[in-house]
């Protein structure tokens, strides 16, 4: 089935535009939902049932959606059309990473271990989006147990390239026009990395901004849920809908977030630290692309100044915290033996959780004590700069590595030439400090793969990230460029 040009235009519209069309009754939620479902059926859904059978026999399909909740979505769309409008997300179809509980809709954590798991509750974010009138349409592909770069989702720009991880299905579906917006999660890069790989815009909120109730846990002290979409403005609209205190998640703060949709005319006087070491990792051609992107910020009034991160044991702390906390959360799956159903590529990882379970608690507490010092240090840096900027990832998406039909974490993908240690430090530092970040496309590499900038701010300062990103997207059109459809049969 080929879609008509209007459907194509709708599929790539912003949340604001869709909201305007819905409010003025130029389109109904049922029509919009049918459009997205038709696209997903035509372009995304492989013949096999994910995630039970992760392989590459998906033909021309992107495989960004694990479960397409057609009936659920159509019922929700009919309810939205019949109900009084509840806000800007009313009637708009969305997808959530498949680690968030959805009542009556399969939730797998990307694992065949939970292939038949149908929760009887909604996660807090799904509750809030339901209250906002949004239409849950799909559960998105993800690396099993939110791990690294392994997922079924293929990169719509080139299908032999990684979509990174772990929120890769959400990011892929957003840029391929299968959903109005999406929800991803990040522990150490899982929102921003896949967004970078496919050219999506994604926001990692401050930890405690958005309730994780009803989500799989990788790390209570590091996990964040956040919006993914095509436009920075969309991320702000969605963040306002999902933010807020929740007594079921101890991390959530009583800090309201009200999105200011119109960005300021300029960012004059805004001090931005440029994490130069990460830019230096890029190829000379890509460095020029990134420098051009920095010029947009400079022209908007930002005062850019090179900074460097001090040497700290970011990676060890991150590994210790995630390992120990995952070990606790996944303990029941070791105890009942069901963990053996994890994918072969993940066995070493789950074994490392068991190793963490055997390690002294004092090491975990030592990591938390060092983390306290890093948080103070990062707050000191962010008191001098409103934002820090770096490439989200210094390279275009690498080749997707597959062994015996299984997507596997690959060293070249994660650490091409062993050069990314410097860059990973910044991601680890920002996540260890619970700082928000936003990423958006800023050009293409020599092979036509998206490149992306990331901005990081102090805690609770998401608005300045959104302001800067909206201004960037007002001045550039990288976010408006859609992948060609080689995946269309």
């Amino acid at each position: 089935m080929m879609q008509n040009p209007r459907d194509e235009e709708l599929a790539f519209s912003s949340v604001s535009e869709l909201s305007r069309l819905l409010e003025s009754r130029q389109i109904s939620s049922v029509e919009l939902t049918e459009t997205y479902i038709a696209r997903a059926l035509e372009l995304d859904q492989p013949d096999f049932d994910m995630p039970a059978d992760p392989n590459l026999t998906s033909g021309e399909k992107l495989a960004s959606i694990i479960t397409l909740a057609q009936d659920h979505a159509m019922n929700a769309a009919r309810r939205a059309d019949a109900a009084e409008r509840r806000g800007p997300l009313h009637g708009i179809p969305y997808g959530v990473k498949d680690l968030l509980d959805t009542k009556g809709v399969r939730t797998t954590w990307g694992s065949r271990m939970l292939n038949s798991n149908v929760p009887d509750r909604d996660g807090a974010v799904v509750e809030k989006l339901e209250a906002a009138g949004a239409v849950l349409m799909a559960k998105m592909s993800m690396g099993e147990f939110a791990g690294g770069n392994t997922s079924n989702a293929l990169n719509p720009w080139k299908r032999d390239r990684t979509t990174f991880g772990s929120s890769s299905g959400t990011a892929t579906a957003a840029v391929a026009g299968f959903i109005g917006f999406g929800i991803g999660s990040e522990t150490g890069g899982s929102i921003v990395y896949p967004c970078s790989a496919v050219g999506a815009t994604g926001l990692r909120p401050t930890i405690g901004r958005v309730s994780r109730f009803g989500a799989m846990v990788l790390s209570w002290s590091l996990d964040k849920l956040g919006p993914v979409g095509r436009f920075a403005e969309d991320c702000g609209i969605v963040l306002e809908a999902i933010a807020g205190h929740d007594p079921r998640d101890n991390s959530t703060a009583k800090r309201p977030f009200q999105f200011r949709q119109a960005p300021p005319a300029s960012l004059r006087g805004t001090k931005v630290g440029v994490e130069r070491a990460s830019f230096d990792l890029a190829s000379p051609a890509d460095q020029r692309t990134f420098e051009t992107a920095l010029t947009v910020l400079r022209d908007a009034g930002c005062e850019l100044e090179d900074i460097s991160l001090p040497e700290r044991p970011y990676g060890a702390l991150f590994g210790k915290l995630v390992g120990s906390e995952s070990a606790s959360f996944f303990a029941p799956f070791f105890d009942d033996g069901s963990i053996v159903d994890c994918f072969p590529y993940n066995r070493e990882r789950v074994a490392s959780w068991m190793a963490a379970r055997l390690a002294p608690t004092s090491d975990y507490l030592a990591a938390l004590r060092i983390r306290s010092e890093l948080i103070r240090e990062s707050d000191e840096v962010m008191s001098r700069y409103q934002m820090v900027v770096a490439p989200t990832w210094p390279f275009g998406a690498a080749m997707r590595e597959v062994v015996d039909g299984w997507p596997v974490p690959s060293d070249p993908e994660l650490d091409p030439g062993g050069r990314t240690h410097t860059h990973l430090r910044m991601h680890n530092a920002a996540n260890l400090a619970g700082l928000p970040g936003i990423c958006f496309p800023c050009g293409f590499d020599h092979e036509g793969m998206p490149l992306s900038l990331q901005l990081i701010s102090g805690a609770w300062e998401e608005q300045i990230l959104l302001d800067a990103s909206m201004i960037f997207q007002r001045e550039t059109d990288w976010h408006l460029q859609h992948p060609p459809v080689p995946y269309r049969a």
């Binding site: 060890a316 210790k320 033996g337 074994a351 068991m354 060092i370």
Partner: protein, 107 residues
Amino acid sequence: MANWTWSLFLAHLAGVSYASLTMTLSRREFTALVGAGAIGLPAQGERLTTERVGEMLDALGGRGVFANPEWLEMLREAIERTEGMTATIRGYAHSSDAEPSILFARY
């Protein structure tokens, strides 16, 4: 039971035999084990064996999926892989005033 299990793990770190733990540890022995544990793996130039890993699991209540020798070897390797991370954290100087960043909240 908890202290005994803890001691067993320290014994593993220190290279003390499983059999020796059938005896009650003196305070001095316990302190020695803690000290030995702090230097990390492998202790006394000894390679961590799957047998010892299995003993640790037995002490914790059972081997579960690690009854499978392939999985047990994966766990042994995973423990060895944590050595560098653990050494980095233990060796990193931090203020004695630093509190762990644990969130505790009441509503």
